[in-house]
Symmetry: none
Subunit: 226 residues, 2 copies
Amino acid sequence: MARNILVVEDDQNIANLIRMYLEKEGFEVRHAADGAQAIEQFNAKKPDMMLLDIMLPVMDGWSVCAKVRETSKLPIIMLTAKSEVYDRIQGLEMGADDYLVKPFEMKELIARINAVLRRTEIPEDTKKRLAFDKLIINLDSYELIVDGQRVDTPPKELELLYHLASSPNHVYTRNQLLDEVWGFDYFGDSRTVDVHIKRLREKVENVSDEWELKTVWGVGYKFELK
Amino acid sequence: MARNILVVEDDQNIANLIRMYLEKEGFEVRHAADGAQAIEQFNAKKPDMMLLDIMLPVMDGWSVCAKVRETSKLPIIMLTAKSEVYDRIQGLEMGADDYLVKPFEMKELIARINAVLRRTEIPEDTKKRLAFDKLIINLDSYELIVDGQRVDTPPKELELLYHLASSPNHVYTRNQLLDEVWGFDYFGDSRTVDVHIKRLREKVENVSDEWELKTVWGVGYKFELK
DNA sequence: TGCATATTTTACAGATTGTTCAAAACAAAG
DNA sequence: CTTTGTTTTGAACAATCTGTAAAATATGCA
């Protein structure tokens, strides 16, 4: 199935150039020349990804991005003539997935598109759900089911458990967990992890002998599967 | 084992910022303020990766990159204030592995570093695991399995055994082991190694005649494979 | 054999690391 | 603005590792 890409770009020459290369790569390409058209096209048929110029007539790229984000996680790559940090940050906060500063090379564009598609693709069987003996962790609905019973669990706890359980037997250090669960920009005490582990254990201890939340002394924690 | 990154950047503020984030990510960070220093540091101890500013006093980033490439495939990410395509091409031809246009966000830097390291690295599951007759050493899950039985082993002991066993028959002196397992910045008595070897032997002695933790009198220790 | 040197063993103290508790800070909801 | 629930922090305590020192043993060599 060919991937469908919506290119939002007011300069007809650039738009054609992009279309040519993308089609050569096997993508289906649609085109919108301004922000309003972009939203219209997006609503008419959901593309697999959007290439979004920032400087646009009628409605600029940021607004389009924000608008799309109200209802969708559609992968978006921003195209900008400016390289100022301000723009990059604004774009990220608006939820773009990547950036490209004009003028760029087609080679790079293609690479970024593939990278973003790869990153944002969620195969059906890798959904946010993990199941073990007497344990279901569902990050989709944020539910934890222990031995058939639903157990109310705060989000951080659930995310932590999910993260550990998604690579059974792998030992994570506290700092890795802080990075990967709390985010790389979180500067907090690593005791935090301990406390969450403790609370998880209260909920999940001695339920099954197939698995266990285990401390690896001097290293960190793991979700051990027997 | 922490990855070691050499940051080559003349602006002290940026360098400190980068250092802070990288160390939080668990990297070891060294810093060079100009091109000559960079080469010096590189020769003194090979890092796992280099972050290389292009505008540098004494010797610019391109020259440093070219110089390093004479002898090594070390992953290099270039940092540049310019976003011109020309620079990007020049850098690529010089053999940089990736690019970042300043000013960039830390999130992006970290992502790129991890990507480059991933690309230049052997897969996780073949990496931290050694198996011999009746012996499995798994540094991923921090488990030691002797004759099918799991044996609880403190981290230092396991790391020591792993290190020895990862080059069978190679003799390590006590000081080498202190450097490589405890870290170059550890200043302790070399008797320490003896004690750990002894404790390992208790766990691992006489289980197989395929291999042996052997003392090389007057020199050090080896993991001998028959 | 006996001496000098290297290694193994043992035991212990101190350091490090992990757990738990309780309270403060924070955020979301009403 | 208050209430409620969650997350984070700090402190006290417990568990366990780790390094040292010193005694016991083994090795190489004259």
